[in-house]
């Protein structure tokens, strides 16, 4: 989709930078106002990643770190579409995911939680959306995870998502949660999002229609990136 500038971000829908309930944000949030910047080519363009980037197991977290068997845990498929705000598919979007294992343990040098690592689970994957915007991963459902925020705070089960659209202004990192998890509504990171309807957009429903019988349940997670104005009545970009 070639075109004009991106629809402005609704920063009352996104979490604010400062939210004392999420303690680390207190010293990591700018105090001065953001400066509005009309999109130039620097924001309208963005990196393009081709399918030659991908290895055959990149979207299969059950297999891509396995040494001597499958990882332990609930086998699931996470699938959905990448769309823009006009509901149009966004093909060619690089999606990267990362997550803890079934016990809530991340494979990371700085991680010290006492739940054990799974020798067959790494926790990272990536894929590129198809022409219709669709994507899918195969993985293990992550476990909840305690963290030193409040004295007894636990993250809900979640998968981190990083998405590249067609312009660098669409760059987005978010988290996917699972339908029915009671920890969602207790979590200070979820609660940085002011609007309940916005939180619900990050909760993936169980999708029995796409569940593979006797193998893996499915969860559906659609991702919406910023939409783009038509160039019809915009000042013409240099060279257009």
């Amino acid at each position: 989709m070639s075109g004009g500038s991106f629809y402005q971000r609704d920063r009352r829908w996104h979490p604010p930078a400062y939210d004392p309930g999420y303690k680390t944000s207190v010293t990591r949030s700018p105090q001065k106002a953001l400066i509005a910047l009309d999109n130039t080519l620097s924001e309208l363009t963005g990196p393009v990643f081709g399918h030659d980037l991908l290895g055959p197991l990149d979207d299969d977290l059950i297999a891509n770190f396995a040494k001597d068997g499958d990882p332990i845990g609930q086998r699931i498929i996470v699938h959905g579409r990448v769309l823009d705000e006009d509901g149009r598919p966004v093909p060619g979007a690089l999606i990267e995911v990362w997550q803890a294992n079934a016990g809530g343990r991340y494979r990371h040098k700085k991680e010290t939680y006492l739940a054990p690592l799974d020798p067959n689970f790494g926790g990272c994957g990536r894929t590129i959306s198809a022409e219709d915007g669709s994507y899918r991963f195969r993985t293990i459902k992550p476990g909840p995870y305690p963290w030193p925020n409040g004295p007894n705070d636990w993250r809900p089960a979640h998968i981190h998502f990083s998405i590249f659209g067609h312009g660098f202004a669409q760059r987005l990192i978010t988290q996917m949660y699972f339908e029915g998890d009671p920890l969602i509504w207790m979590c200070p990171i979820v609660a940085t999002i002011p609007d309940k309807a916005a939180v619900e957009r990050l909760i993936a429903p169980l999708d029995m229609a796409n569940t593979v019988p006797m193998d893996a349940r499915a969860y559906k997670f659609d991702i919406v990136l910023r939409g783009r104005r038509s160039t019809l009545f915009e000042n013409r970009m240099e060279g257009n």
Partner: protein, 208 residues
């Protein structure tokens, strides 16, 4: 009732968290042999056109501590000022340059490093040249939505003075937070660019 706009809302952002490296730079984080190389680690090829430079810096929080868990991404034009993107209609960018880089800060010092080339000038909406710049995007634990900023070059004084974005920033003293001085380190032109998330020296961040 008027007709509904029927527009979707953007997926809300969430923090990248402390373990962003597992997904974005897995080899760096200790998850090895899933991807051959971390995405954005190598920006240059031998045939890439342009002046080789290093961009190094750290990200500081509001109490002056360097973040050791930030992830910084850069996006820039090639040496001729062309972006390697289908949206680029003015010509074909250098096929030896991807324009994208990604660096996890060193786990001890927090220093991020990009080995890249100095970009050429890119036009503003009205055709005036923008000064050479690199777009930076910063995510980390405690940052709820990625922060966009720009790096301009200290040795491009005349272009910076004429830059359509820099020149309309009201608080002139803050413009310096976007300009990296040029030094030589290990025989390599190096631009040192520290980013301050909060406080007196706070870097300018953009709503793009």
């Amino acid at each position: 009732m008027v007709q509904p706009l029927n527009r979707l809302k953007e997926s809300p952002s969430q923090t990248a968290g402390p373990y962003v490296h597992i997904g974005c730079t897995p080899n760096f984080s200790g998850v090895e042999n899933v991807f051959p190389e971390d995405l954005g680690k190598t920006m240059l090829k031998p045939e890439t056109k342009g002046e080789r430079i290093r961009v190094v810096g750290r990200v500081f929080d509001g109490v002056g501590a360097a973040l050791k868990d930030a992830l910084v991404e850069v996006w820039q034009a090639d040496a001729a000022g062309l972006y390697p993107s289908p949206q680029e209609k003015r010509g074909t960018a250098d096929p030896g340059f991807a324009g994208f880089g990604r660096s996890a800060g060193d786990m001890t010092t927090g220093e991020f490093v990009f080995e890249t080339i100095k970009p050429g000038k890119v036009p503003f909406k009205d055709g005036r040249p923008q000064a050479p710049h690199i777009t930076l995007w910063i995510v980390a634990r405690g940052i709820n939505i990625g922060l966009h900023t720009r790096l301009y070059f200290g040795d491009e004084e005349a272009a910076n003075d004429a830059d359509p974005i820099l020149s309309r920033i009201e608080h002139r003293a803050r413009v310096a937070t976007l300009i990296a001085p040029r030094t030589m380190e290990g025989g390599m032109p190096t631009y040192r660019h520290d980013i301050f998330l909060q406080g007196e020296k706070e870097t300018i961040f953009f709503d793009i």
